[in-house]
């Protein structure tokens, strides 16, 4: 502990803290702009400057560490003037078109102006010239509004390890760009949208899909089907004043009804379906791998009921639900693509089923159907445009709305969210197990998969208290565990005593680490879950701002609670899934599944690969 004095008040604070953090802990808020807890501390904007006795220059409090005996003043005339001038200088190169800006009333620059009580813009200097980059399916970059705080740069380089955005040029010409003035669709941008989620102003936003969806909803000839990802239900409430992690599933379903969607389904259903397909794929790869190694015979393979693979049984197998992760792998690890599960992501599976199975069931021409996915994700906007995500010439999913976009539609629709009553999802594609809820958190797909796969192999539940695979829970970058198979069913007897090593990772730096291990032939794992965004989908690029670690933990808990609340907690016990296989799909990895639910991947160059 060190003793410091802030504005004539003595306080004892932890050593190693910054002035900004120490003051905040003692209820003194120092106005700041570029600083973002857990993410960005570089003193780029200088708004948080304070006076420190004995130091000649004003110090940026977000990067200056406290030391014993430090005497700090946060509100002297000098500090106040510096802050205001900095703010006014920023405004002098800002369009100030707040009324028609997507961030109006949710803008950190605007909020700061209010705090600082700026009443004039004295500096009418030159305006920098910039171009709008709206070439990406997911992300729109409007440098005109950029204040050069560099949060997106930190996010893209240090937290996601992709490094698409950096500062280009210098001085007044400085701007954020991909290098060589390339539009981001010509780079290896993964579309994860983490840059959007930290942008304090309107310089980074998602490609708008709300107009397309309104149009579909208002078209009487269209049957509009909507589905919602698990992570949305524990975050949407934040847009309407609820605590992060509050589960608003019922109100959310009701709001979709009020907006005029014809069928309201749950991506969770498709998550359960994914477990059946992906779990079977894992076992099939394992058994075929053992056969090719000579450990077990062809007869052993047949006895399991799993099919023989012609292609090499590549292990470890890696999950494929996260389209940001998929695009990262395609650009950065093109040789490792056979490790990816061939399963389409759950919402695309749902789209494929809706336009085939369900369209037939309700007698609607799939061409008159519009499938809308509400996702915590911006990469899904890119994913649905991939040529692989089509069947019978129709896109599986027609539009993706982020959690934020849904909130804006609810507001635009005049729906008072907090006073809505609750509604269930429509059946049969709205029924799901607790395992499916876990698809929204890092480690959750792994847990859901093991609940099913372990039972398929042993006939018993996974040996974890309350079915919770604790080592898979939490925000650590890479989590791993070992599971020993004990007393398997007769047909899997060759797996007795086999140690299965698993891992889950979230954020693309973690993904790169596990992929490097595979590349070097050192990966100890059989099965790896990768989610592109830190913490998993609950921290997706389409979620309400701001997603701090504190918020991640709350949303995560929201989904774990939802899982525990359900009686049905394993995907293979979902009666609607069982029924779907009986009526339509026949069996996991069967012919129909192969056509509708599985996909392939494309090796891509790092740059200039459109």
């Amino acid at each position: 502990m060190v003793r410091i004095t802030v504005n004539n008040r003595n306080m004892d604070v932890e050593e190693g803290m910054t002035i900004l953090e120490a003051a905040r802990e003692n209820n003194i808020d120092i106005p700041h702009l570029c600083y973002l807890k857990d993410v960005h501390q570089m003193g780029a904007c200088r708004v948080c400057v304070v006076e420190v006795e004995g130091m000649k220059n004003l110090q940026a409090s977000c990067i200056t560490l406290v030391s014993d005996g430090m005497v700090i003043h946060t509100n002297t005339a000098r500090v106040r003037q510096a802050r205001k001038i900095l703010y006014e200088l920023m405004l002098s190169d800002h369009p100030k078109d707040c009324l028609i800006c997507s961030r109006n009333r949710h803008c950190e620059l605007q909020e700061l102006g209010e705090v600082l009580q700026i009443g004039e813009t004295r500096f009418a200097g030159d305006r920098s010239v910039s171009q709008l980059d709206d070439t990406s399916f997911s992300i729109v970059r409007d440098n005109d509004k950029c204040i050069l705080c560099r949060r997106c740069v930190t996010m893209c380089h240090e937290i996601q390890g992709v490094g698409i955005l950096s500062v280009q040029d210098r001085g007044f010409m400085s701007h954020i760009g991909a290098g060589l003035e390339l539009p981001i669709h010509l780079t290896s941008c993964t579309n994860c949208g983490q840059c959007i989620s930290v942008c304090p102003v309107g310089a980074l936003k998602e490609q708008d899909a709300t107009q397309q969806v309104w149009q579909a909803l208002l078209d009487p000839k269209k049957t509009v089907v909507v589905q919602v990802a698990p992570a949305v239900r524990v975050a949407l409430g934040e847009e309407f004043g609820y605590e992060p992690g509050s589960n608003v599933t019922g109100k959310m379903a009701r709001s979709l009804d009020e907006l005029g969607f014809d069928y309201i389904f749950d991506t969770n259903f498709a998550a359960d379906l994914t477990i059946l397909e992906e779990g079977t794929e894992l076992l099939t790869r394992l058994v075929n791998h053992l056969h090719k190694q000579g450990t077990i015979s062809q007869e052993d393979v047949s006895r399991t009921g799993l099919s023989s693979m012609k292609a090499p049984a590549v292990l470890p197998m890696i999950t494929s639900c996260s389209p940001g992760w998929i695009k990262f792998a395609e650009h950065t690890y093109p040789e490792q693509l056979p490790h990816l599960s061939t399963c389409k992501s759950p919402h695309v599976m749902m789209g494929a089923l809706v336009k085939d199975y369900y369209a037939k069931k309700i007698g609607v021409n799939p061409e008159d159907m519009v499938v809308v996915s509400i996702m915590p994700c911006t990469a899904k906007k890119y994913e649905i445009a991939r040529p692989e995500m089509q069947n019978a010439g129709l896109s599986n999913v027609d539009a993706v709305l982020t959690t934020r976009e849904l909130a804006s539609m609810i507001r635009e629709g005049g729906i008072e969210f907090t006073s809505l009553d609750e509604r269930e999802f429509d059946s049969p594609l709205g029924l799901s197990s607790g395992a499916a809820d876990l698809f929204g958190v890092t480690g959750g797909v792994m847990e859901a998969a093991l609940r099913t796969v372990y039972e398929l192999v042993t006939g018993r539940e996974i040996p974890f208290d309350g079915l919770r695979i604790v080592p898979m829970k939490g925000l650590e970058r890479i989590k791993s565990a070992t599971l020993v198979i004990d007393q398997p069913k007769e047909e899997f007897s060759f797996l007795q005593g086999v140690e299965v090593k698993i891992a889950s990772t979230s954020g693309l730096v973690g993904a790169a680490t596990v992929l490097d291990e595979i590349k070097e032939g050192k990966s100890p794992y059989l099965f790896i879950e990768v989610m592109g965004c830190p913490g998993g989908c609950i921290g997706g690029g389409g979620q309400p701002r701001m997603t701090t670690d504190e918020v991640r933990i709350k949303r995560m808990q929201g989904l774990y609670d939802e899982d525990e609340r359900k009686v049905m907690r394993k995907s293979h016990e979902n009666p609607a899934i069982v029924r779907l296989y009986e009526d339509f799909l026949d069996q996991p990895l069967g012919h129909v599944s192969h056509e509708l639910l599985h996909t392939s991947y494309t090796a891509r160059k790092r740059y200039l690969d459109d």
Partner: protein, 168 residues
């Protein structure tokens, strides 16, 4: 001066130059901290750092293109356009500045019809400004390809340039 010069800076597909750059990267290792050194060599090899060269370096050194391009754009030493055969450096250090260096800049921009940092269309001359070339006693000074011209009178500049153009 009006005759069109053949390109003296071949593009990146010149195998020898690429091999040389590859050797440099190999010698330095694909480390972020060596990026600036590699860029210096790249400029020495090609005369400038083209977009293709930047892409090549980004991929070979496994450094994001945005970062390579950011560094190239930040340091005025690096040029992204081909340099002319003759590099004219005008000193604008304190001594040269007070003795009329600025007039030399104006006159040369006028004569060559380019701005500082640019290259004439015939690729004969590039114009740059230096902060003190260490010839304060000779101010105002310019250097062309390393040869220093002392106490330059702007009216003599046309003659000096003509000497270089004649050699071609």
């Amino acid at each position: 001066m009006s005759q069109v010069m053949p390109s003296i800076v071949p593009c990146i597909d010149d195998e020898e130059q690429i091999t040389l750059l590859e050797t440099v990267i190999e010698r330095y290792g694909a480390k972020e901290s060596n990026l600036i050194q590699v860029l210096h060599y790249a400029q020495a090899i090609f005369g400038y750092i083209s977009p293709q060269t930047q892409l090549f370096i980004a991929e070979r050194m496994d450094i994001p293109l945005s970062q390579v391009s950011g560094v190239v754009g930040f340091y005025s030493f690096f040029s992204t356009v081909p340099k002319g055969k003759h590099i004219i450096s005008i000193c604008l250090g304190t001594a040269c500045y007070v003795r009329g260096g600025k007039n030399i800049v104006d006159k040369l921009q006028d004569l060559l019809k380019i701005s500082v940092g640019e290259t004439t269309q015939d690729r004969l001359f590039s114009l740059e400004v230096k902060r003190c070339i260490g010839a304060c006693g000779l101010a105002p000074a310019i250097s062309i390809d390393g040869t220093v011209y002392k106490r330059v009178n702007p009216n003599r500049l046309e003659k000096i340039l003509a000497g270089y153009a004649r050699k071609e």
